[in-house]
């Protein structure tokens, strides 16, 4: 928290720039902004209050906020839906949370050029609903779909269940408007999908976690709504048998929308035969002829790989159950957290064996039943698992060490620490496992160039100097 006298002065300036209703400063109002969904240490509950939350509606109000923060060297934490899982929204140094949710306008829908321009605070769900009225879709779907904003998804380099056909948000960004730390407005380039001209500055802000600037407008590639949709479901004896089927589907020429392979857990309502422990769901979209042919083709692959086919309703139920696991079930369980590493397909078995046979038992951590193995199938493959965070300070330390060892393992196998939720605080100190000294120096050089005062979400994303070289 900043000095009380300065706080009064800053409040006055913020109110003057944005108006009283868009500046929150009372303790009760700040409470929900002390955490995102990251499991911070138990002793850190209610420790990190922002000094202010502002709710700008325009780029110029964001500029004014950045100007005030820059003048007084106050941290700025850009926020979208607030569902981040790595602590990138935790105000560890106090400061101003710039909540962009009031910047939720659709500015332009271009059907002939297949793009949409939006303010960053619109949720993915709201945007898909808006686009559907124009016969278009962004095709970004994830567990936090109802609450995640476009700005948040870009800043986190969010994943999408529909990755195989439509890519992730990183593949959708055509152009951005960003308020830089010095208050200037950067337009990264024209609203074109492809150019062979300047540096692709828009990509710099994908996954930047608000450490380089505040996104105030985004132009995103969209697609026409498909004529037809379908889904296939096959059950397998265990994860490895299912993985064999997934490898065969990936090796086929079919561009499915996305595929998910996961344990069924104790959910008896799934409709799976009793000896089958794993479900493989694959989605298809396109023209009706295309979808029919692809479904037929993949169905044969699944059956040849010893799969027992399930129905569409079962598939829908399993997919809903999966959403439940990654969202609402968190409320029903003891504190738990996730692994979402990107692991090369051929090293997946080795990864999981080491995680569950070596790392996790060593630290006295329990898996969440039915959530030990999971895989997003396709080019953007991500291995995911859930585990309980042990109680107490010692438990927290064990958990942190285990997470660090998992990060080291994923990168040693040629993968990445996180294929989904970003770095934030959770993986910050482990980034040295994944990136070389030169790569991290380059990242810091970019950070210093764009944010010389280090006011843009300081303490997140990039490891401090002492913990950088871990390779």
């Amino acid at each position: 928290m900043i000095d009380p006298k300065l706080r009064d002065e800053v409040r006055e300036q913020l109110v003057k720039a944005l108006g009283e209703p868009k500046v929150l400063w009372k303790k009760a109002d700040l409470l929900p902004y002390t955490k995102d969904t990251y499991r911070i240490g138990f002793d850190e509950d209610y420790k990190h209050f922002p000094d202010f939350v502002v709710l700008p509606e325009t780029t110029s109000e964001v500029q004014a906020t950045v100007g005030i923060a820059g003048k007084h060297r106050i941290p700025l934490i850009p926020k979208g839906g607030g569902s981040n899982r790595t602590g990138m929204l935790v105000p560890i140094h106090g400061g101003i949370i710039v909540d962009t949710v009031k910047m939720a306008k659709v500015l332009e829908v271009s059907t002939p050029n297949l793009y949409v321009t939006v303010q960053p605070g619109i949720t993915l769900k709201e945007l898909e609903e808006h686009l559907a009225e124009h016969g278009l879709a962004l095709n970004q779907e994830q567990g936090s779909f109802k609450v995640a904003t476009v700005g948040g998804a870009i800043s986190t380099a969010g994943f999408s269940r529909k990755h195989q056909k439509y890519g992730t948000i990183a593949d959708r960004v055509m152009s951005l408007e960003v308020v830089l730390a010095d208050g200037r407005v950067l337009r990264t380039g024209p609203k074109v999908l492809y150019t062979s001209t300047g540096y692709r500055l828009q990509l710099l802000f994908v996954g930047a976690e608000g450490t380089l600037g505040i996104i105030t407008e985004a132009t995103l590639r969209v697609e026409p709504l498909p004529e037809s949709k379908d889904v296939l479901l096959a059950y397998y004896d265990d994860f490895w048998e299912g993985l064999g089927a997934a490898e065969k589907v990936m090796a086929s020429c079919v561009t499915f929308v996305g595929g998910e392979l996961y344990e069924l857990g104790a959910d008896a309502s799934s409709g799976a035969p009793p000896d089958k422990k794993v479900a493989f769901c694959i989605a298809f979209e396109g023209t009706s002829g295309e979808v029919r042919a692809e479904v037929e083709f993949v169905r044969n692959i699944l059956e040849e790989a010893r799969g027992v086919l399930g129905g569409r309703e079962e598939a829908a139920r399993i997919i809903d159950g999966y959403t439940m696991r990654w969202c609402g079930e968190r409320a029903l369980l003891d504190p738990e957290d996730e692994i979402n590493a990107y692991v090369p397909m051929e090293r997946l078995r080795e990864f999981y064996e080491k995680v569950w046979s070596e790392i996790v038992p060593k630290h006295g951590i329990r898996p969440v039943p039915g959530s030990r193995y999971g895989l997003d199938v396709g080019r953007y493959r991500m291995a995911y698992s859930r585990l309980y965070v042990p109680e107490g300070e010692q438990g927290w330390d064990s958990y942190r060490k285990a997470m660090s060892e998992v990060a080291q393992l994923a990168t040693a196998l040629g993968g990445s620490i996180s294929g989904c939720t970003g770095v934030g605080l959770k993986h910050r100190d482990d980034l040295g496992f994944e990136f070389s000294e030169v790569a991290l120096d380059t990242m810091w050089a970019i950070k210093r160039e764009l944010d010389p005062q280090n006011i843009m979400n300081p303490g997140k994303k990039l490891p401090p100097r002492g913990v950088r070289n871990r390779q």
């Binding site: 009760a28 409470l31 995102d36 709710l55 949710v101 109802k146 609450v147 609402g328």
Partner: protein, 387 residues
Amino acid sequence: MDSEFAEMLKVSDMCYLCRCGCCKDGCPMYAEILEETISPKGRNAVIRAVLQGVAEPDERVMRIAYSCLLCRRDEESCTARLKNADATEEFRRYLIEKGQKPLPEHAVLIKSLENYGNPWQEPKSARKRWARGLKDRRLVPGKTHTLFYVGCTFALDRTLQESPRALAKLMDMAGESYGLMLEDELCCGSTVKRIGDKRLFQKLRTENEKRIRESGVKRLVTACSGCYKTLKQDYSRLAEALELLHATEYLVLMVKEGKLRFREHKAKVTYHDPCHLGRHTEVYDAPREVLRAVPSLSLIEMKNSRELARCCGGGAGVKTAYPELSQKAAIRRLREAERTGADTLMTACPFCVQTLSDAARAVGSQLKVAELAVFLAEIAEKGSGPR
């Protein structure tokens, strides 16, 4: 802590474990103000902080506690189905019991209930004004089969008194034997229950339940969704002692029994589910069924209907404490109704009628807001036996 606050403790702890914020999708108050605190997730965080002594239950906390419509729309979006509305209602009671003063806007309602037995500062005798000409309908203890329980708002708000008259007309037409308590009818206590005044609610419930039971009626019909929810769910034993029907359920019965039918009426109607009638007591089909009994009437559903219906913004003391936000929520719902192309926005709750009519006037909407009984009374005919 007292087990009567169990839901508040459970929900605030469970929500804190998840914090996904999916509840914000669909929360009518959050949609208008977009502050985390004015969302179930944010409010749960405040509840937990107050219970843990991290935050003082100050004036701002009181305002946050009373910013919820208790509409339960958010619970449809919450994957864990947390009972956020119950938690907030308990939190209000907790704050009052810990010595916080009610919001000044609500203090007026409480005072009126203490003095007059209704929240609208009307003398007890005013309760029978709507029923001039129906004096022979005074309930006869031990003889009347069906009690038409009117409720404070329908009975006392002059702009709404057409509704109880319309339902009485429909009951007459159906040849039903019913009675009215007139000036002896007492508030069900819904208002004070929702704003957390347990003492006054218990007083009203005890007296009201005594009067209803002593009347010896076998059936109670009310057109007010708030009264219906309260009598059904907050008077735990009353619903076991007699048949408790909302007017929409009752009208379906009359139609099915052939006691009532409707003339052909070419209208395009969309139906707004009141929260107390829909999500709280799960009466979704009855109003639609009775509307479908009108020949040539076209019923068009809004994008968000039944479980997903948006709240009108009029509930749980919010209209009194946050009139601007309440009106914004109402306008948002009205716009949704307009998009259906309907000419009439039908509903079955005095607060929804009031709030949506005010919104329609404020924006000059062409949409006619109608209460179900009023609409049906215009086109009803005596039935000719079972269908």
